[in-house]
C-alpha cells in the first residue's frame, strides 16, 4: 500500500511505521502542513530523555526562565528547519490541484483491496465543569452487583399485615394534612372572629358616639336657651332698673322743683322784680327828686343861716368898730358908703332880722328864704368856699 503522503526523514526523528493517527489540531482551523506535526517516537531515542551521567551534564534550564540566548538559538534552528522543509516541499513533485468541483481522495491501488482496519476512529470530546456552578452532590454509590442471585417467594400474610402497618403512616399523613388545613382554617376563622368583634365594637362605639353627640347637642341647645333666657332676664332687669331710676329721678326732680316756683316768685318778689309801676315810678322818680329838693331847701336854709351868721358877725364887728370909732369921735358921722348905707339899712334890718332870726330860727318857713336871698348881696365873695363847706356840712346832716 502506498500512501500519497510524505515521509519526513529528519535527523532528529526516527519514525516507525505506526498506525496513522489523523490528528486534527484543535487549536488551528485548518491543518498547516508547514507546521511541525508531533510525532511519537521511541522513548529510548527521545532526545529529551537523559541517559547516562546526570551529574556532569549540560542540563537544560527549567522551562520557567529559558536562557534568552538559548531561546533565540532554538528559534533560529526551528526557523531554519522550517525553511529547509519549505524548500524541499517546493521541489517535491506533487500531483496537480484538483479540477473545479472535484477533490483528491486516497485510494488503494493494489490488486486486492485491504481493509483499513487499523484506522482508529478518533472523536474529540472535552469536558469542563461550569466555572461557577456549585459542585453537584455526589451520586449515590451503587456497587456493582456481585454474588449469586437467589430468589424467594413471600406468601400473603407472611411478611406483614398491610392494614396494621399502614395505620401509623396513614395517621401521620392524614395528621399532617389536617394540621395544615386546620392552620389555614384557623387563620381564616381568626380573621373572621376579629372582624365580627370589631363590628360589634363599632356598633357600640357608633351608638355611644351618637348618644354623646346627641347629649352634647342637647346640652348646647339648653345652654343656648339658658343664655337667651338669661339675656332676656338681664335685659328685663336692666329695664326695670332704668324705669325705677327714672321714676325716682322724676319724683325727686318734682319734689325738688315743687317749691321752685313759689320760691322763685318769692325771691323775685323779694328782690323787687315785681313792682307796681306807679309806686316804682314814685319811688324812682319822685322821691329822689323830692329828697333832692328837700336837701336843696335845707341847704339854702343852712346857707342862709350861715350867711346870716356872717352878716350878724359882720354887723356886730362893724358896729363894734363903729362904736369904738364913735366912742373915739363922737361927732363924726359914718362915711357915705354903700357899705354903710347898707349897713345902716342893714343895721336896722339886720338887727330886726337878727332878732327875728333868733326867734324864728326853728319856725322859719321855706317861702321866707328866697326873698332874703334876693334882698342882699354877698359881701364876702372870697369866703364862699366857707359857705360851701358849711353847706355841705349842713346838707350832710340834713340828708336822710
Amino acid at each position: 500500500m502506498w500512501r500519497l503522503s510524505d515521509f519526513f526523514l529528519g535527523k532528529e526523528h526516527l519514525i516507525q511505521p505506526l498506525p496513522f493517527y489523523y490528528f486534527k489540531d484543535i487549536y488551528s482551523e485548518d491543518l498547516e502542513i508547514d507546521e511541525e506535526p508531533v510525532h511519537y517516537g521511541n522513548i529510548m531515542y527521545d532526545r529529551r530523555v537523559i541517559r547516562g551521567n546526570t551529574y556532569a551534564l549540560h542540563s537544560y534550564p527549567p522551562s520557567t526562565q529559558p536562557d534568552p540566548v538559548e531561546l533565540q538559538r532554538q528559534q533560529e534552528a526551528k526557523r531554519k528547519a522550517l525553511a529547509r522543509r519549505r524548500a524541499r516541499e517546493h521541489l517535491r513533485p506533487r500531483s496537480p490541484e484538483p479540477v473545479e468541483g472535484r477533490k483528491h481522495v486516497d485510494v488503494q491501488t493494489e490488486l486486492y483491496l485491504e481493509e483499513l482496519a487499523d484506522r482508529i476512529i478518533e472523536v474529540d470530546m472535552e469536558c469542563q465543569t461550569d466555572a461557577f456552578l456549585d459542585r453537584p452532590p455526589t451520586p449515590l454509590f451503587i456497587p456493582a452487583k456481585t454474588g449469586k442471585d437467589v430468589a424467594t417467594q413471600i406468601l400473603e400474610g407472611e411478611l406483614f399485615d398491610f392494614d396494621i402497618e399502614v395505620k401509623p403512616m396513614l395517621e401521620v399523613l392524614v395528621g399532617k394534612t389536617i394540621e395544615q388545613s386546620l392552620l389555614e382554617v384557623m387563620e381564616e376563622e381568626e380573621l373572621a372572629e376579629l372582624q365580627k368583634q370589631q363590628q360589634q365594637f363599632e356598633e357600640l362605639r357608633n351608638l355611644e358616639l351618637a348618644e354623646v353627640q346627641r347629649l352634647e347637642e342637647q346640652e348646647r341647645r339648653h345652654q343656648q336657651e339658658k343664655e337667651r333666657r338669661r339675656e332676656q332676664q338681664l335685659q328685663q332687669l336692666q329695664k326695670q332698673n332704668e324705669t325705677a331710676q327714672k321714676i325716682a329721678a322724676r319724683a325727686y326732680a318734682q319734689v325738688y322743683l315743687a317749691d321752685l316756683i313759689p320760691s322763685v316768685f318769692g325771691s323775685l318778689r323779694d328782690n323787687g322784680y315785681f313792682y307796681d309801676p306807679t309806686e316804682r315810678d314814685i319811688e324812682i322818680g319822685f322821691l329822689p327828686w323830692l329828697m333832692h329838693e328837700v336837701d336843696k331847701t335845707i341847704e339854702y336854709n343852712m346857707v342862709g343861716r350861715v350867711v346870716l351868721d356872717m352878716l350878724i358877725r359882720e354887723v356886730v364887728e362893724n358896729r363894734l368898730n363903729m362904736f369904738e370909732q364913735l366912742a373915739v369921735k363922737e361927732p363924726k358921722k359914718t362915711l357915705p358908703d354903700n357899705k354903710d348905707e347898707e349897713q345902716g339899712e342893714s343895721f336896722t334890718i339886720g338887727s330886726e332880722q337878727f332878732a327875728e332870726e333868733q326867734e324864728s330860727l326853728p319856725t322859719r318857713s321855706f317861702q321866707d328864704v328866697p326873698p332874703e336871698k334876693d334882698s342882699f348881696q354877698m359881701p364876702f365873695g372870697d369866703n364862699l368856699d366857707i359857705f360851701d363847706m358849711k353847706e355841705s356840712d349842713v346838707s350832710e346832716d340834713k340828708e336822710p
Partner: protein, 340 residues
Amino acid sequence: MASPLISQYLPPDIDPTKVSIAYGRRALPKLNEELNSPDLLTRQRALMALCDLVHDPENAYEAISIGCLNTLKLLLKDADSTVRHKTLEVFYIMASHSVGREGFLKNRIILALAPNLEDPVLLCRRFLHMTYVRLAQVPKGAHAIIASGLIPYLVKKVQIEVEEIKEILLDTLYFCLQWDASQALQSDAVPILHEMLFSLNDVIRSKAARTMMALCMPRDGKKKVWEYNVIPILVSLLNDSNIDVLANAAGALMFATVTTAGKYAALDAGALPLLMNLLDINVVKVRINAIKALTMLAEAPEGRVELLQKVYKFKELRRSSISAISRAATIATKVIEWKP
C-alpha cells in the same frame, strides 16, 4: 450523567412554581437574596414561596427583621405584573398580622405603596386596596394613612374605579374617616358618596351609606350633608331590601339628625314611619341604629308628638336581652316622655 434525583418522578410535595426553601434559619435570608436576583423566574418563584411562608406570624416577624420589606418595596416597581401582584399579596398577608402592621408603619410602606394606585392590572390594585383596608382597621394604621395625605386620592379613586375595587376602597375610607374626616370633606367626598348611594349594587350602597355615616360624625360633616340634601336620599334608602343598607342608612341618619337642621330635614322627608318599621327587624345593628335615630328625632317637638303614640314599642325593647338595645331603648323612652 449523574443527577441528584434518584427517581424518575418528582417528589410529591414539590411545587414547580415555587423555589425550594432552605432549611431552618437560612430559609428567609435565602429568599431575600433570591428576590433580588435579576432572573424573572427566580423572583416569581421566590415570591410564591414567601407568600406561603408569611402566613405564619413568626415568619412574618423574621422577614421584616431581616429587611425583606425594602426588597419588596423595590419589587413593587417591577415591570412584570405577576411579580407585582404577588408582592402585593405578600403585603396583604403581612398586614393581617400585628407585627406586619408595625413593620409597615416603621418602614413607611404606605407611601411606597401609593404609586401602585395607578397600576394597570386589576389584581394588583385589588391586593393593594385590601392591604390598605387591613391597615386601616387598626387605629394606628388609620392615623398613618390619614397622615400620609392619601385620603384625597382615595376619594378621587372611589369615583373612577371599578366596582370590585370601589367596595374595598369604601371600607378603607370608612375606617379612616372615623378618626378624621376633615381631609375627605375638603375633597368633596359628600357629593361623590351621594351619587354612590344610587348605585345598583347592594354592597356598594351599604358601604357608601356606612362611609356617609362616618362623614356625618364631625359637625362640619353634618352641615355639609344637610347642605347637599343627602338626608332625603338616606330616608329613601330606608325602604331598601338589603339589611346592611338599612342598618347603615339608619346609622347615617342617626348622626346626621343630631343638628336641628338635620332633624327637621329628616322629619320633612318622612323618616319616622320608616324608622319605626326598622324596629321590627331582628338584627341588632338595624335595631340600635333605628332606636338612636328615633331618639334624635324625638327631641324635636313634632317628632315627639308622633312618637308618644308608639312609646309602647320602645318599652318592649327595653326588656331585650342585648344590653345595648335595652339601654338605647331606655334612653329613647326617657327622651320621648320628657316634659319641659
